[in-house]
Amino acid sequence: MDQIGLVSRITTATKNIDAGRKGFATRGKEQEGRILYEDGIAEAFSIFVESQTAADPQALILAEYAFITQELQLCDKSDKESISSLTRAIRFFDDAFLALQAVEDKQQYQGTEKTIPHDLKYRVKGFPKDSFHIAFNGHKTRIQNILKTPGLDPIEKDLLKQRLANLSTAQTAYLESQRKALAK
């Protein structure tokens, strides 16, 4: 996936979501805020759809990380539970980025693989359940829980469903990276 284009689209979507949310909270600017917010969500949706089609783990993780970061930034400061959950998700994704780098180094990753127990609890389809899988499994649960929230805005619900689908796609693509790294 074109990285420069991806960055442009992520920055576009997040700019409009950011300004849109602030517009909602400003008397007299609610309508403009709604226009920008909906556009930002639509842009985010198309980013997630195209990332899924490309099945590019780097694009998938970057898009998800950017929007989690934005969620944390725009979170109500009194919502301690969400702040804690999002902060934790970001920490896990930071580790996932490191795993994505590590898997590119065959020799290093083959060494790492020897340290991961072969018990099923520590494996995903026979491959190490490393930071990438741990981050994505945890985040899937988080999004599934959010989807159970009553009264979700339909456009936000669609976006969450797409993000959830992307997490599985990212893990499948990552398994392929692990397979290549561990091939003799």
């Binding site: 442009s8 576009t12 997040t14 700019k15 517009g23 950017a66 970061t69 934005q70």
Partner: protein
């Protein structure tokens, strides 16, 4: 508008809405060009710098990131 011009919320809303009108009229290039004039939120600029590299931010409006993190932030 100069590349690193700051914007008030009103200006961002007005510019963004004009951009959305361009998109609705079928001008996606015009939409993205106008959107590029709006400053990137600092927390997103930080994500791009840390996870992709500073080179992906070259030529973009970083006025808010520079105000928050310092004028030499991108090169540090």
């Amino acid at each position: 508008m100069p590349q690193n011009q700051t914007m008030t919320l009103d200006e961002k809303l007005a510019t963004g809405c004009r951009a959305v009108e361009l998109k609705k009229a079928g001008d996606r290039d015009g939409y993205y060009r106008l959107m590029e004039t709006i400053p990137i939120p600092p927390y997103i600029a930080k994500v791009i710098k840390e996870k992709m590299g500073a080179e992906y931010l070259t030529g973009r409006n970083l006025s808010e990131a520079e105000a928050e993190f310092g004028p030499d932030w991108l090169s540090k």
